[in-house]
């Protein structure tokens, strides 16, 4: 697969993963671009041991985790549902709430739920994160419960 095809195919998915991690449009954009810089540099070393998707998601999620070092860069903004602030990108408060709630989860949970919402198979998620499949399943279940709870609290169900 050519780099440009990969870039176009995976851009949306990687961007959303980063957005779920930081809940900041510009930072997510930076993180996603950085991910593809790494993909571009490492593409020759990709040896089909896993699917290209798993490989790219690993790079993206590791890059997100690495951003913890620069954490001060993205202090998450407080709930912007009614204060629309600079968030004119997404119109619907529900979408904003979802991304905000996800960005407030523990770091690895953010990665897990983002991958789940991207329709990545649980077996693949296990391979990306480094947990057992059973463990991933339990975690996804708990995270979804937590999200549902938060949506209820905000009256957005």
């Amino acid at each position: 697969m050519e780099f440009e095809d990969i870039y176009k195919t995976y851009w949306d998915r990687i961007f959303r993963l980063c957005m779920g991690f930081v809940n900041d449009y510009d930072v997510a954009q930076d993180l996603a671009q950085e991910t593809f810089i790494i993909v571009w540099q490492k593409l020759e070393t990709f040896r089909n041991e896993s699917t290209i998707g798993t490989w790219i998601f690993r790079i993206a999620s590791n890059n997100c985790l690495r951003q913890i070092e620069k954490e001060k860069r993205f202090q998450k903004s407080d709930l912007p549902i009614h204060l629309t602030e600079e968030k004119h990108y997404s119109i619907e408060p529900q979408i904003q709430l979802l991304y905000k709630c996800i960005a407030e989860l523990p770091e690895t949970d953010r990665v897990i739920i983002s991958l789940e919402l991207e329709d990545v198979k649980q077996a693949e998620i296990a391979k990306i994160v480094g947990l057992s499949e059973a463990n991933v399943r339990v975690k996804i279940h708990r995270i979804k419960e937590k999200l549902t709870q938060k949506f209820k609290e905000n009256g957005l169900q």
């Binding site: 870039y7 690993r58 913890i68 997404s90 690895t108 480094g130 279940h141």
Partner: protein, 197 residues
């Protein structure tokens, strides 16, 4: 879907608006990315290598007679080489962490590197100072021994004062600053790592 309680998270998730991928922007970033990473490494390396060469040149030019001078030169250079070696090795490790491994493996590696960095910034700086001080002390002895008593006291006094200032004032300050930063980071990485246990 049952635990979704009718909220279609997947649908919401995918409705996030996204800017088009921008190949041009990516390529320009790639360029700056490569440059920035190497600059700091080069500055420190060039600085210490130039200093070492300078010391060797002075040594050769004045043709020292005392063995203490030669040992001094050797120790001074050794201190810098030692520091550079560890610093470069650490940076290489840092740059080479495989981003294609699982999150768990990646976090563990990141943690290990941060701990090594902590060592470099605290203990290693100490060793560097001790070896450097002994080296400079020995190196100066031959030239100072030809001076008057006042000159000798002044030369050693000022040098030791300068080293003392670095050791007792600048070094602890630097270590404290770095430690705060790196300890918080190590704690954070450990916490994230714990999430995957």
């Amino acid at each position: 879907m049952d635990y979704n309680n009718h909220i279609d998270f997947k649908d919401l998730w995918k409705r996030q608006s996204i800017k088009e991928p921008d190949m041009k922007d990516l390529m320009s970033r790639l360029h700056t990315f490569k440059k920035a990473g190497l600059r700091n490494v080069w500055i420190l390396n060039v600085l210490l290598v130039v200093t070492s060469v300078f010391i060797v040149c002075i040594g050769v030019y004045y043709n020292p007679q005392f063995i203490s001078t030669k040992i001094g030169i050797l120790l001074t250079i050794l201190a810098m080489v030692m520091y550079l070696f560890v610093y470069n090795k650490l940076l290489r490790n840092y740059k080479n962490i495989s981003t294609t491994q699982t999150n768990q493996e990646y976090l563990q590696e990141l943690l290990l590197i941060k701990k090594k960095q902590q060592f470099l910034q605290t203990k290693m700086i100490g060793y560097y100072f001790v070896v450097l001080t002994i080296g400079i002390g020995l190196y100066m002895y031959e030239y100072a021994s030809r001076m008057s008593l006042l000159g000798l006291c002044l030369t050693y006094g000022l040098t030791l004062l300068w080293i003392g200032f670095n050791w007792f004032y600048l070094r602890p300050k630097q270590i404290k600053k770095q430690e705060n930063k790196i300890d918080t980071l190590i704690a954070k990485f450990e916490e994230v790592n714990q999430q995957l246990q």
